[in-house]
């Protein structure tokens, strides 16, 4: 190639507004353009950007699993996979920072990764979804679906005739009472019951809240109900705020959407809640616990010497250990608790409604269970331990960032105090 062509190609790669990375199956980076480096450096720091999997381990540990699980010599490993990089962001209402990653195998041990910042698109999608819901609400009213108007405390102010037809309850019997008397508690993801106060708080914050689940008619018959709670825009005064609650009698959805929910909210390897879902739940529970004056605690745990274990026994063994720890964590999560994989060998257990003392006991039990388990490898059984940091909302400045920061700091102290221990103060 002529020198001037070479120079132009180089200039083109330097200026390309899209991240391009060439790597091998271990993640070692051969070539990388500046746009890709712009995204990787803040994630990994200057010490971590020579290996793509190490650089993304904290935010998207599944990338390595995708590559390891891809047996063919050629082909697309993942396309537009979303990496959420904003856990612990300062501005809760701010736009999310999301990277899109595509991985293509072009020959055995030769991979190309692309990275692009899709934060603006994700925010746009969110706003569109919100607008969609608003439009649906309007159409629902036109089509005369069951509609309740409720006030800030969940007291029914009005009910239309479709409501009576759908549920069998007379308007006069429900007006003036709480909607909780006639509707079940909403089950979110099949695990977190939300009181009407929680739902109203979410609708106030986001403008709307959508959920579905079993409801019971006045005659005891069950039906699958989609509910949309919308904060009505006309309220000028905060205290006068009213909400529309639309109820739709719909066929029970099949397995597919549940699979999708599973895919979007679970960590690929361990089945624990993923980082993105954890972030959402953390913020939602923070709002709920704070508004109700209830405690909320967080445990962050990190497996001890995990890198050495991986180096000595290989990634498949490391993965087996992560799965075992996740199973223990999921078993030990209390009713509203959420056990999540934050990245690499770091997990979190969010414990709403629990004091720091109760939570510390929970962490101590989990520590003993992890220390007591062994994982079989050819010719040996290996033991692992984990270090724990616990914190409670009451110790923070009121933000979930600070809760994470305090738990993290204590985890760090546990590591430096000799590992395999819980630090909660």
């Amino acid at each position: 190639m002529a020198i001037s062509d070479d120079n132009e190609l180089l200039g083109f790669m330097y200026a390309c507004p899209f991240g391009l990375i060439e790597l091998d199956e271990t993640g070692h980076i051969g070539m990388i353009n500046p746009n890709a480096m712009k995204h990787l450096l803040p994630l990994a720091g200057a010490d971590g950007v020579e290996n793509f999997f190490l650089a993304t381990e904290k935010h998207a540990p599944e990338l390595r699993n995708f590559v390891e699980g891809f047996a063919a010599d050629f082909g697309t490993i993942c396309d537009g996979h979303r990496i959420f990089v904003d856990l612990g962001r300062r501005n809760v209402g701010g736009d999310p920072r999301v990277l899109s990653c595509t991985l293509v195998k072009r020959a055995p041990n030769q991979l190309i990764a692309t990275l692009s910042d899709i934060s603006a698109q994700v925010s746009q999608e969110y706003r569109l979804r919100q607008a969609d819901t608003w439009f649906s609400a309007l159409i629902d009213e036109i089509n005369d679906h069951a509609l309740l108007t409720v006030d800030l405390n969940g007291i029914v102010l009005a009910a239309n005739t479709s409501f009576t037809r759908q549920t069998g309850y007379e308007a006069a019997d429900v007006i003036g009472g709480s909607v909780e008397a006639i509707l079940s508690r909403a089950q979110s993801m099949g695990q977190t019951p939300l009181s009407i106060t929680d739902q109203l708080a979410l609708a106030t914050r986001n403008g709307w809240h959508l959920f579905e689940g079993w409801e019971t008619r006045a005659d005891g018959q069950r039906y699958w109900c989609q509910r949309l709670l919308v904060a009505r825009a006309e309220a000028e005064d905060e205290d006068d705020r009213a909400f529309s609650l639309v109820l739709r009698d719909v066929p029970k959805p099949g397995g597919k959407p549940d699979d999708l929910v599973e895919l979007l909210t679970r960590d690929y390897l361990t089945g624990a809640t993923n980082r993105m879902q954890f972030q959402k739940t953390l913020e939602r529970e923070r709002v709920r616990c704070t508004s109700q004056g209830r405690p909320m605690s967080l445990i962050i745990l990190d497996l001890d010497d995990f890198k050495a274990l991986n180096d000595a026994h290989g990634h498949p063994t490391g993965d087996a250990v992560l799965k075992r720890v996740a199973r223990l964590g999921l078993e030990h999560a209390p009713e509203r608790g959420v056990f999540a994989r934050l990245g690499g060998e770091e997990f979190a257990l969010l414990v709403p409604d629990c004091s720091l003392t109760e939570t510390t006991e929970m962490a101590e039990t989990l520590r003993q269970r992890i220390a007591g388990m062994t994982v079989a490898v050819p010719g040996a059984r290996i033991a692992v331990t984990a270090s724990f940091g616990c914190a409670e909302m009451g110790e923070t400045d009121g933000s979930s960032d600070d809760l994470i920061a305090i738990a993290d700091r204590r985890l760090y102290e546990a590591k430096h105090g000799g590992r395999d221990r819980v630090v909660a103060s």
């Binding site: 180089l10 200039g11 990388i32 500046p34 480096m37 803040p42 200057a46």
Partner: protein
Amino acid sequence: MSAASQPTFETVQLIELEQMTHEACDALDFGVIGLRPDTRADVYNAAEQRLSGIDPALVIDAPFFSTIGQCMNNFMVAQRFEDEPDLDEIVPFVLTLRMRPTRVRLRLLQSRDVARRYVLVER
């Protein structure tokens, strides 16, 4: 100028860079990138050309952080020039010189008395 008094990556002062001739700047053994207040590049010395492999014609007068210097367009470099009117700091960094990840040290230089700001690169 004798070899002994040649300014180094760590010791060179912002004002020295401002007063330096093109030839002297090209004689330095570390990369020098000078940016005007609108972040367009107007200094790109010979050492930097050798490191990056880029023809200065592609760099000069282009908005640096949105073209050639994209990897510095984050809180680690570009944001610091925005936030700190007086800046003299060495940061470990990884550049993509000729598309290879390359560990370097950057020295960020800015003073409220001087319009031009500098990024020095030591491989």
